[in-house]
């Protein structure tokens, strides 16, 4: 399975080796455990590395340390009761998880959220996308050795969390939306505050870029590392910024708009080379696009009800539905089977992190151990979502 003949740079590996030895230095292959308590694996991911010196010959991911059986819990809760659980999957983008779940159930019961609720949802979800990308950027840069971005991003993310806290009382696991719309009306001065945060954020994104985009160390560590081309991404089911960095212009907000995303103007940033640097650039550009969406939404937010007429006791008709949204990490899908009772018969969650993580092996073969850290970072995984 391991392509021992060529390294990442396409050079023959065996050219200088003796007939029998399989490694450069006549050392035997080394198996190294990285994680599950390694700080750069972003949680409890364990990667078993098969090494030849510093060079990675193959990897195996061991996951499941955070498995809580979310899908089983879903089958044993009513539709309404299950909503807060989804926040605990991708806990740095809880709002997006909630939006995906609520829109999926709404589709199943054939209800649409009122326009005002949709706008509030878009604002909150895009704020969450910015916050999620900020966590990613901070930790990813820290892994590669740049410490300052972490302080910058976490300082700025705070402003978004403050809005969440004021809106729904929670900062992390927000449970901001309800099936059929939003439970809470926006607080007084919400629009003003969101606009203020937008104005505050824009120059900050410039600061991140100033620190990294042309930074020699950053460029050396990320350019050409962990390449994936578009076809490989599709074959591996990789979605989100990772797919877009490989040149595939695909975003569910445009391809299959939900929650009124078709009303907003925004671009889909794409990369060319599909390497770690391009993924960084795509995400940084997405930060600006999110701001653009938020500004449009705040300016045009309509008046009206925020909750559609949804029966207090939800009993969707017998049937099944698959609905997915563009979460910060990729396609987040819910496949719900209803048997007409109060609880879902089957609640399948298609997590973007889980599927994207599968590409790790392909991306790191032939690289150095230090690059594995960079690639794990660039995939932007959250183990709560990988393991569910």
């Amino acid at each position: 399975m391991v392509d021992n003949d060529r390294d990442f740079y396409g050079q023959e590996w065996k050219e200088d080796r003796g007939e029998k030895s399989s490694t450069y230095l006549d050392a035997s292959e080394l198996v190294l455990n990285m994680g599950p308590q390694h700080p750069s694996t972003h949680g409890v991911l364990r990667v078993i590395l098969k090494l030849d010196g510093e060079k990675v010959l193959g990897t195996e991911c061991v996951i499941g340390y955070l498995h809580r059986g979310v899908e089983k819990i879903g089958e044993n809760r009513t539709y309404t009761m299950f909503a807060p659980y989804v926040d605990r999957m991708d806990y740095v983008a809880a709002v997006s998880n909630g939006l995906g779940y609520c829109t999926a159930v709404e589709k199943l019961i054939n209800v649409e959220a009122p326009p005002r609720a949709q706008y509030i949802r878009v604002i909150m979800t895009e704020l969450q996308r910015i916050a999620s990308h900020q966590v990613w950027l901070g930790t990813h840069a820290l892994d590669i050795g740049a410490m300052t971005p972490l302080f910058y991003t976490f300082r700025d993310r705070e402003e978004i969390l403050k809005i969440f806290e004021k809106y729904c009382g929670a900062r992390l696991t927000t449970h901001a939306f309800r099936i059929g719309g939003c439970q809470y009306e926006t607080y007084e001065g919400f629009e003003k505050e969101v606009k203020k945060v937008c104005a505050f954020m824009e120059p900050k994104f410039g600061e991140y870029e100033e620190l990294l985009t042309t930074n020699r160390i950053w460029v050396e560590r990320t350019k050409g590392v962990g390449k994936l081309n578009g076809d490989e991404c599709k074959a591996l089911g990789v979605t989100g910024p990772v797919l877009r960095a490989s040149g595939v212009k695909w975003d569910l907000r445009k391809a299959q708009p939900y929650s009124g995303y078709d009303k907003f103007e925004f671009d889909i940033p794409v990369g060319e080379n599909g390497d770690t640097y391009d993924r960084y650039m795509v995400r940084v550009k997405e930060l600006h696009q999110s701001l653009r969406i938020i500004r449009q939404a705040v300016d045009n937010i309509p008046e009206g009800p925020i909750l559609a007429k949804v029966p207090k006791v939800l009993k969707p008709p017998v049937g099944e539905i698959y609905h997915s949204i563009e979460a910060p990490k990729g396609e987040l899908g819910y496949f719900i089977v209803s048997d007409g009772s109060l609880q879902p018969y089957r609640m399948r969650i298609r997590p973007p992190s889980f599927v994207n993580l599968q590409a790790l092996d392909k991306m790191v073969r032939g690289l150095l151990v230090a690059d594995v850290v960079a690639v794990i970072g660039t995939l932007d995984i959250v183990l709560g979502e990988v393991d569910r």
């Binding site: 996951i63 499941g64 498995h67 059986g69 899908e71 089983k72 819990i73 089958e75 044993n76 009513t78 589709k107 199943l108 054939n110 076809d231 599709k234 074959a235 591996l236 089911g237 595939v248 695909w250 391809a255 299959q256 029966p311 207090k312 006791v313 009993k315 969707p316 008709p317 017998v318 049937g319 099944e320 539905i321 698959y322 997915s324 396609e331 899908g333 496949f335 089977v337 109060l342 018969y345 089957r346 399948r348 298609r350 889980f354 599927v355 599968q358 393991d387 569910r388």
Partner: protein, 229 residues
């Protein structure tokens, strides 16, 4: 909650306590044990003319047959192997025999451009005889911007051909299905548990596996504690 509310039955007028706002009429339980007595003692609520309660909830949307040229072609080739092709709530799905599953998936990828396997999962129906498990493949085509679900049904203990050769994505997804349902995929390169620890007993997403059930033995041996339940 379950036993209190039966929202799809018709609430008879006059069973509501007078102070209840009319808006709640719909969600009130129609056959409270006390309803007969209250109906006698209390005069019918004057206003709130029993809203023509949404005529017994028109049983919701129903699947409608789905057909196109490609489906037609498949049907002529595989005939009864394609059991059902329908659209439900705007989403297309088909049910096929497990024996022709690989061919169908291959056709979908090669001829129709469904180059992205979105998800692969299973559903357990213990009451269905000889078809306890339903395997669901959700496919997406970037070119057509279209989704389709291909489903197949198998009996407990039967295996399904692996889709790893068609989409590498299937690798982990099939491992997860194996982990959670105990369904084997023929031809999978490395079929073993993925989320639960090796050596765990049972497959949690089967319906007979209780939500509080644990592998007590595993917990005792590996964690050295009594199981939490």
């Amino acid at each position: 909650m379950a036993e209190e509310h039966k929202p799809d039955a018709t609430p008879p007028a006059g069973t509501q306590p007078a102070e209840k706002p009319a808006a709640d009429v719909k969600s009130l339980p129609p056959t409270l044990p006390s309803s007969s007595t209250t109906a006698e003692t209390k005069p019918a609520v004057p206003a709130a003319p029993v809203k023509p309660v949404a005529p017994a909830k028109p049983a919701g949307p129903v699947p409608v047959p789905w057909d196109n040229e490609f489906i037609h072609g498949l049907k002529t080739v595989y005939e009864s192997g394609i059991r059902e092709t329908s659209t439900y709530l705007g989403q297309n799905y088909m049910v096929v025999d497990a024996s022709i599953l690989t061919e169908i998936l291959q056709d979908y990828r090669d001829d129709e451009g469904f180059d992205y396997l979105v998800d692969l999962t299973a559903v357990h129906y213990p009451k269905r005889e000889k078809a306890e498990f339903e395997i669901v493949y959700i496919l997406y085509s970037f070119v057509k911007n279209e989704r389709v679900r291909v489903k197949t049904q198998i009996a407990d203990g039967e295996s399904v051909p692996s889709a790893t050769a068609i989409w590498p994505t299937a690798n982990w997804l099939e491992r997860e299905v194996f982990d959670m349902f105990g369904i084997r995929f023929e031809g999978h390169p490395d079929l073993k548990r993925i989320l639960l620890p090796d050596g765990w007993k049972g497959h949690p997403l089967r319906k007979e596996y209780g939500i509080l059930q644990q592998d007590k033995e595993w917990v005792q041996i590996n964690l050295g504690i009594e199981s939490g339940q």
